[in-house]
């Protein structure tokens, strides 16, 4: 009973920490509906998949959110028809490659600048490589989780329908009358809201609707993810994980495992890692700092709202392998 109560406390503490960031992410994502003109965005983004991943991994500088906040933003980018390589690079890089996290890492590890520098370099490299790998899949929908793909479809479909110039009332679906104009009552409203002056009046409402919908959906995912993370935290002693790490290789693996279990927010994980500085090699600390922000149990639920489970496993495996190889290389040179 005691253990259960502690698990519940840890569960709440994860949620109380994550919900403000989720809210921030959802606010940003809903803001993107209006702030970014997706046609401009598409033309400005490089067509080359490699360059696309590079740009994607730097978008984090514009949106300083951690791993709970970046998922709504990545979802919005995908719905804005940004290529998956850009979105995946953003997803993996944004929690690390942003001013707040770099600053907090510097505060914690200022006396070991190589940790700060390699954290940024490795995260950037991993995000670019993984984004690049996924750019080989041309059909975005095959990566996406079924109902999200359906929504993705409906947006693309309704858009192509509108551009055909077919009279609106001849199309199927529901419509709203707004100031004498007929508007189809579907997702294309969301897309056109930025440009269509007739929809301007409803802008605020769309913003609120989108905000509410995303928050309640992602909030549910977050609850499940945090519950699993809290249960593991209580029933698998941390000492057990730390004891796995004895030499260079196993200590890297142990710190990666710890990163997944602790599910700590990337803005503060460097302070947490600092407390292991005395007992662990700097290579394994780096593994914690590079791997932690990209993957943790708490955010798996959130990722499941975008990607198919198979794709999430691919992403995790790739990131884990790259982190391992990079940090192992690092520990042989430093």
């Amino acid at each position: 009973m005691n253990q259960l109560h502690i698990a519940f406390t840890l569960f709440l503490s994860l949620l109380v920490e994550a919900i403000p960031f989720l809210l921030l992410g959802v606010l940003l994502s809903s803001g993107l509906l209006f702030l970014i003109d997706e046609k401009q965005l598409i033309t400005r983004l490089p067509k080359n998949p490699l360059l696309g991943s590079v740009v994607g991994s730097c978008i984090g500088f514009l949106f300083p959110v951690c791993e709970c906040g970046n998922i709504p933003v990545a979802r919005r980018l995908l719905l804005k028809r940004v290529s998956p390589s850009v979105a995946i690079s953003f997803l993996l890089a944004a929690p690390t490659i942003n001013p707040i996290v770099i600053w907090s890492t510097w505060v914690a590890f200022g006396n070991q600048p190589q940790i700060v520098i390699f954290r940024v370099l490795f995260s950037l490299a991993i995000a670019i490589i993984v984004g690049w790998v996924f750019s080989t899949q041309k059909d975005t929908r095959l990566l996406l989780q079924t109902s999200f793909a359906r929504r993705f479809d409906s947006i693309i479909y309704s858009q192509s329908e509108n551009t055909e110039g077919k009279p609106l009332l001849l199309q199927s679906g529901s419509f709203i009358l707004d100031g004498g104009q007929v508007l189809p009552f579907n997702n294309s409203l969301l897309l056109d809201a930025g440009q269509n002056s007739a929809a301007l009046k409803s802008k605020g409402q769309f913003f609120v609707d989108n905000l509410l919908q995303e928050f309640s959906e992602l909030g549910g995912m977050l609850v499940l993810g945090s519950a699993i993370a809290a249960i593991i935290q209580v029933f698998v002693p941390r000492e057990f994980v730390l004891n796995l790490g004895q030499d260079t290789i196993t200590s890297i693996l142990a710190m990666m495992l710890l990163a997944v279990i602790v599910s700590i927010c990337s803005t503060v994980d460097s302070f947490f890692a600092l407390s292991f500085a005395a007992t662990f090699t700097s290579g394994s600390l780096l593994a914690f700092l590079v791997f932690g922000p990209t993957i943790d149990i708490k955010s798996i639920g959130l990722m499941a709202s975008i990607f198919k489970p198979k794709i999430i496993i691919y992403i995790f495996t790739l990131v884990a392998q790259l982190t391992f190889i990079f940090t192992l290389t690092y520990s042989y040179f430093f």
């Binding site: 809210l23 109902s147 941390r238 500085a277």
Partner: protein
């Protein structure tokens, strides 16, 4: 994994019940966060630095909840034609509501020695790998347990602290490797949220057996620092090694109630 049904065929899609649930989820979460900030219980869950963030979120959530309820009452809201969630409609909100209500009813629990044993207590926690020069600002007897550990970390020379007075509070932890008349006076330190809490502690030398003070008792201990060689269990290798460490020789021990902010923060 995919629980979603094709919702085009679902007549319940625009069921006002779901709008109510959404609004209620926002309101309950707003109230829960507000309750934590007002009662100070947030300190048991996260680092006090996040106070503003939690307060702002609770206000935004309450505001959104009111907007949502108003929209539902006015029947004006426009639903997106397609839901994105993995869940059937209403499930996510119901889950959020249940958790928030449970949170409102069950106060957070303060971490105990049992969790400390799982995490593994450390006497050298707040260390930088290369300690920087350190100037003591506070008088020794005014230092808290955390400040003591910090000081010792910055200048790990146990014999330098001999004779300094100390007056610290924390909870009791029994470590098997220490002799029977020693206990660890400990506190949890939080970096970000309670999930990452880890215990730190200082060995206390008693005149009696430590069994007088069962684990998890909160004590205020006054005494003077001494340096002794004690068996200390290594964090990683799990081997017990004799090591010279700073020990608090207790002069007066007072049992105290659990303080309002039982944790240390980094």
């Amino acid at each position: 994994m995919n629980l979603a049904n094709p919702r085009k065929a679902n007549p319940n899609k625009n069921n006002p019940l779901f709008s109510w649930l959404d609004g209620l989820a926002l309101l309950t979460w707003g109230s829960l966060l507000l309750k934590y900030t007002i009662t100070g219980q947030y300190k048991l869950l996260i680092h006090p630095n996040y106070y503003g963030l939690v307060l702002a979120s609770s206000i935004i959530l309450l505001g959104l909840g009111i907007v949502k309820i108003k929209l539902t009452l006015a029947h004006t809201q426009q639903k997106n034609s397609e839901h994105i969630a993995l869940f059937s409609p209403g499930f996510s909100s119901s889950l959020l509501i249940c958790v928030a209500i449970a949170g409102l009813m069950i106060p957070p629990k303060i971490l105990t020695s049992q969790s400390a044993m799982k995490t593994g207590v450390r006497d050298i926690p707040l260390t930088r790998s290369q300690p920087q020069s350190f100037r003591t600002v506070t008088k020794p007897e005014e230092r808290s347990l955390i400040e003591w550990i910090r000081t010792i970390n910055a200048y790990p020379e146990p014999d330098a602290y001999k004779g300094q007075l100390a007056n610290v509070s924390g909870f009791v932890l029994h470590l098997k490797e220490l002799p029977d008349n020693y206990l660890m006076l400990s506190r949890f330190v939080i970096t970000c949220c309670a999930v990452d809490a880890y215990p730190i502690g200082i060995p206390v030398k008693l005149e009696t057996s430590r069994n007088t003070y069962p684990p998890d008792t909160w004590l205020q201990i006054q005494g003077a620092m001494i340096a002794e060689t004690l068996p200390i269990k290594e964090q990683v290798s799990k081997t017990t090694m004799e090591r010279r460490s700073v020990v608090l020789a207790a002069k007066s021990i007072k049992s105290i109630p659990i303080p309002a902010d039982p944790y240390g923060y980094k």
